[in-house]
């Protein structure tokens, strides 16, 4: 009780804006309409930043409070995009060899220091939808082009889904990853038919999913069974559509002969001459003589479909067929709820109410001025929804597990981690976190969107996708990784190389004298003040029991507090 008394008293004195009390997140709320005028407290600001960035910092909390949500989002939308390609080419121009590790460096640097946090966070969410991975040989050999693919997601984070879908489809990285690159029309004599890979996954994973959804994301049922969105005929139809695409700028001096198609180079000259892989950075280009033009193609059939019964008549060009097919996908009623659910799960909560999904899907369908597929408006709807902005009760099981990658970005942002040359040599986080950007084991991402672990969660009908990478092994390796980043890699530790990324604990040391202030600080910074009284008490008592004689003691107090919070169930499940 004593500690709790202090906790309350303290909260009233140390706020950035002391006029509002920490407990009163909603004291100034008059209803659901004014949430865009917030945040009304540091805790609300921290909670928003947990969803919209790679982790809150005290500076950003203050800034968000000064600006308000609307102005903050507008400011983010106006920020220029941080580009991985640019970062990697700078390294290359400095004479360094550039591998996928350089792409990881770029990702970490932007996640920790990028001013365009919302754009980058949405791009990361999109990278878990439009999955490509450097674990696949062809794309893995093109690190800068993969960085460029990520930039495509970043550039389109607030753009239009239809345009993004087309850019993804024509990216040589995706073309190689899901084998649409050099996919060719049927050759019945050789028993060769179009590759179905991209046709299948663009529908199943990138846009509509396997079963028909209502406008609020709930399943349409028929005779007690979900209704499939398409069958094998449709996959074959799309497989025919996605034929006839090769690198840009192929020489076709001999009229597009088969050897020209087959041996089309990815650039004007061979490696290592400049420009040898230039076409990896350009949209693929069509070859009509390799496109399956003649056949009628069964595309998606759904209420209100433009094509009669979803059938695309033969005779189109590679480009016109592609355009018609992507329109056919884009207009499917599933896309809105499908994308809404994905973004809500990546940013806010694993188990949104159907009404929440429905509101976001409605924004996807129409941004207010009649445009379908506006991702900027959709992201805003995800973040500014009532259900996103109000702290869910514990019993409602709201919230989600933090992705392991985001636990480390959170630590590093909160503690201003950097290296002597501002490079983030975090090259293989998948080994200990089970995640690294564009490094999923398969096109199914690190986890499936509807995964529910066996046991209580399954019994309650709750989804918790991130739990698919929570194993007896991984809980230990993630905790150990965060431990090494906290206990060992700190600024001033003489044992480590200046090239290592280190957290800066110096600004934390003054708080170590006063365990209540220390834990309160981290309650805000790491848990947007959702820490239970029991947890608060446990941590204060523990830190109080640690020595406090010299700087080293105080540093250990800080380190222990941070690590114990970052490995606690209350932190790992963000609310």
């Amino acid at each position: 009780m004593k500690i709790l008394f202090y906790r309350l008293a303290l909260a009233a004195t140390i706020l950035v804006f002391p006029i509002q009390t920490w407990a009163g997140d909603h004291v100034f709320d008059s209803g659901f309409d004014d949430q865009a005028e917030g945040p009304h407290s540091d805790a609300e600001a921290a909670r928003f930043l947990t969803q919209a960035t790679f982790g809150p910092t005290l500076t950003e909390i203050s800034r968000l409070r000064a600006l308000g949500y609307n102005a903050w989002i507008a400011d983010q939308a106006a920020q220029p995009a941080s580009h991985e390609r640019e970062y990697m080419e700078d390294l290359e121009n400095a004479g360094l060899d550039v591998y996928q590790s350089a792409r990881q460096e770029a990702w970490w640097r932007h996640a920790i220091t990028g001013p365009d946090q919302l754009r980058l966070r949405v791009a990361f969410a999109l990278s878990e939808l439009f999955v490509v991975s450097d674990q696949s040989g062809d794309a893995g050999g093109q690190p800068i082009a993969m960085g460029n693919y990520y930039d495509l997601l970043t550039d389109n984070a607030f753009g239009n889904y239809r345009s993004l879908l087309e850019q993804v489809t024509l990216s040589p990285i995706m073309g190689h990853y899901l084998s649409m690159f050099k996919n060719q029309k049927p050759d019945t004599a050789a028993n060769i038919r179009p590759d179905e890979n991209y046709a299948r996954e663009v529908m199943q994973l990138f846009s509509i999913g396997l079963v028909r959804l209502n406008a609020d994301g709930s399943l349409q049922m028929s005779g007690g069974q979900p209704v499939p969105t398409y069958g094998q005929d449709t996959i074959r139809g799309f497989a025919h559509v996605f034929t006839g695409w090769n690198y840009a700028n192929c020489p076709r001096n001999q009229g597009g002969q088969s050897w020209e198609w087959e041996y089309c180079p990815s650039g004007p000259v061979d490696w290592p001459n400049p420009g040898w892989n230039a076409s990896w950075f350009l949209p693929m280009e069509s070859w009509e003589n390799y496109h399956a033009s003649a056949e009628d193609k069964q595309l998606l059939d759904y209420p209100g479909v433009n094509l009669p019964n979803g059938l695309l008549s033969g005779g189109g060009t590679a480009a016109s067929d592609l355009g018609a097919a992507l329109d056919n996908i884009f207009q499917h009623p599933n896309v809105g709820p499908f994308i809404a659910r994905h973004l809500i799960k990546r940013l806010v909560t694993s188990n949104p109410s159907p009404a929440y999904v429905g509101r976001v899907a409605a924004t996807f369908a129409n941004n207010g001025v009649g445009v379908r597929g506006d991702l900027g408006a959709t992201v805003r709807a995800v973040l500014m929804d009532t259900e996103a902005r109000h702290l869910p009760s514990l019993a409602s099981n709201g919230g989600k597990m933090r992705e392991p990658l985001l636990r480390q970005t959170h630590l590093w942002r909160a503690m201003h981690a950097t290296s002597n040359d501002s490079r983030y040599r975090e090259w293989n986080s998948e080994i200990y976190l089970g995640q690294a950007a564009l490094r999923a084991p398969t096109v199914f991402n690190f986890f499936l969107p509807d995964y529910s672990p066996p046991g209580e969660l399954s019994a309650l009908g709750l989804i918790a996708p991130e739990f698919q990478i929570v194993t007896d092994t991984s809980v230990a390796s993630v905790a150990n990784a965060l431990g090494s980043k906290t206990f060992w890699y700190w600024l001033g530790n003489p044992w480590y190389s200046p090239e290592d990324v280190v957290v800066d604990l110096d600004t934390e040391l003054p708080f170590a004298n006063d365990p209540i202030r220390l834990i309160d600080r981290y309650d805000l910074l790491f848990m947007n003040r959702t820490m239970s009284d029991a947890m608060f008490t446990t941590l204060v008592n523990y830190v109080q029991g640690m020595p406090n004689v010299d700087t080293e003691d105080r540093r250990e107090r800080v380190q222990d507090a941070i690590w114990l919070i970052q490995t606690s169930p209350e932190y790992v499940i963000e609310r």
Binding site: S179, A190, L457
Partner: protein, 456 residues
């Protein structure tokens, strides 16, 4: 009575028992008495090892017909992906397979060829296995007069379907999990799960009562920063972990951490006391995983395990492109790792007690998309172990002709054996009595036989 209800009642009945082992013993006896079949066996040891081939292994380029007529069908369908007949590793079965054709293995699999061809062979091949709801002919498939599993040809769905082996199930329990629900009380150790995965989460091992335990290829991993000697930090960590959490996701996370820490100590202690195996394993991902399985079997006494089910995986079989070289690499890795694992079980004298089998979400189309193949349906599988009636090719090898009698369309071959039958044969050897088979495999009665004969 639902099994879970039963266990809960048994728990109440023995709640006064302070001794963990005596509790387990009572539970086992009570449980055995309450169910129809025998669930507790003697002091013997039995283990299953599921080797999952992620992406859909092309069984039709793993086991290839060599006799002229069948080879020509294959070669016509496969065009530029057809393996030259002369390169196939000839198999010499003791009994001619149905149809009488001769077969060879992919050239990347010489060690499996050797195992297959030896007398007292521990290797059998089950042909054209795949998910089915009922036996089905091409005519029935085309007329849609017999139901088929939902979302055929989709990776995720057919992965789940294969491992549930119950194509119309609505839950996500696998048949390895259902076996564990039945048999886990056989183990004196009731803390460590009898289902251990060296490849993370999977549907196969998830049961209603038993959840898999995960280890890495180097063993169980502990939390470095809460060693026992850090008494206070460990106490604080444990207090935060074990608090009464109000949110179900928090409780789930806490339970995984708790289980991880408890089991890590047990597994690490057991492995520390291991007398090292002489068998060397290839230093490949699958080799390292199967080495860990062998090591865990090696310390089964220390872990007090009599019934175990292991799961390992190997990725890279989704060969839409570049199939000839990519699949050969994967099959070569499989070949070397399986052979080493079998040798290790022989070294431990448990080769008759350990059965290893492959699973994969589907086979691949007999037709070609350029330099690869697309998602198919039926495929061939390997079953290995001392209890295997080896040197035989089981089931009905399909006609590989595109648009032939077994082709559902574009070379997606209709299975002639259901996964239920394949799995039930293995489960029968593991100890499931015939009378209980339909509990584990509810659809098994729809098929001709629950025992394909490849195990004794």
């Amino acid at each position: 009575m639902k099994r879970r209800d039963f266990i809960q009642r048994a728990l109440c009945a023995t709640a006064s028992s302070a001794m963990f082992t005596s509790f387990a013993g009572k539970l086992s006896l009570a449980h055995a008495a309450a169910t129809s079949g025998k669930r507790l066996l003697g002091n013997d040891y039995r283990a299953l090892v599921c080797v999952y081939l992620y992406g859909g292994n092309d069984g039709f380029n793993m086991l290839v017909p060599r006799s002229t007529a069948e080879y020509n069908q294959y070669a016509t369908s496969r065009g530029n992906l057809a393996l030259p007949s002369a390169n196939l590793l000839s198999l010499n079965p003791s009994v001619a397979p149905i149809g009488g054709a001769s077969f060879g293995l992919n050239p990347a699999m010489p060690l499996m060829r050797d195992l297959f061809n030896q007398t007292q062979s521990p290797l059998a091949i089950a042909t054209n296995v795949g998910p089915l709801l009922y036996p089905i002919t091409k005519a029935q498939y085309e007329a849609e007069s017999v139901p088929v599993p939902k979302q055929l040809f989709s990776h995720i769905d057919q992965n789940v379907t294969w491992l549930q082996t119950r194509a119309d199930a609505i839950d996500r329990h696998g048949w390895g999990g259902r076996l564990a629900d039945m048999f886990h009380t056989s183990n004196a150790n009731q803390q460590l799960s009898m289902n251990i995965s060296i490849d993370g989460e999977n549907v196969f091992q998830a049961g209603e009562d038993v959840f898999p335990y995960f280890v890495g290829e180097d063993g169980a991993r502990g939390l470095d920063d809460v060693p026992v000697w850090r008494t206070n930090r460990r106490a604080a960590f444990t207090a935060l972990r074990d608090a009464a959490h109000g949110n179900a996701l928090q409780r789930q996370y806490a339970s995984v951490v708790r289980r991880s820490m408890d089991n890590q100590v047990m597994v690490a202690d057991a492995l520390d006391g291991e007398s090292a195996l002489a068998t060397t394993f290839p230093d490949s991902p699958l080799g390292r995983k199967l080495r860990m399985v062998a090591r865990l079997i090696n310390v089964r006494g220390g872990l007090q395990m009599q019934r175990q089910i292991f799961y390992v995986g190997l990725g890279g079989f989704d060969t839409h492109d570049n199939q000839l070289s990519d699949q050969a690499d994967r099959l070569g890795e499989l070949d070397a790792a399986l052979a080493a694992f079998h040798a290790a079980t022989a070294e431990m004298s448990v080769d008759n007690s350990v059965t290893t089998f492959t699973a994969s979400e589907f086979g691949r189309t007999t037709s070609v998309n350029g330099d690869g193949t697309d998602h198919g349906w039926g495929s061939h599988h390997l079953v290995m172990g001392g209890a295997v009636n080896g040197r035989r090719i089981y089931g009905t090898p399909p006609n590989l002709t595109v648009e032939g009698p077994d082709d559902a369309g574009w070379g997606q071959i209709i299975p002639t054996t259901s996964v239920d039958q394949y799995a039930a044969t293995i489960a029968g050897w593991y100890g499931v009595p015939a009378g209980d088979m339909s509990t584990v495999f509810p659809n098994i009665g729809r098929f001709e036989s629950a025992d394909l004969g490849f195990l004794s």
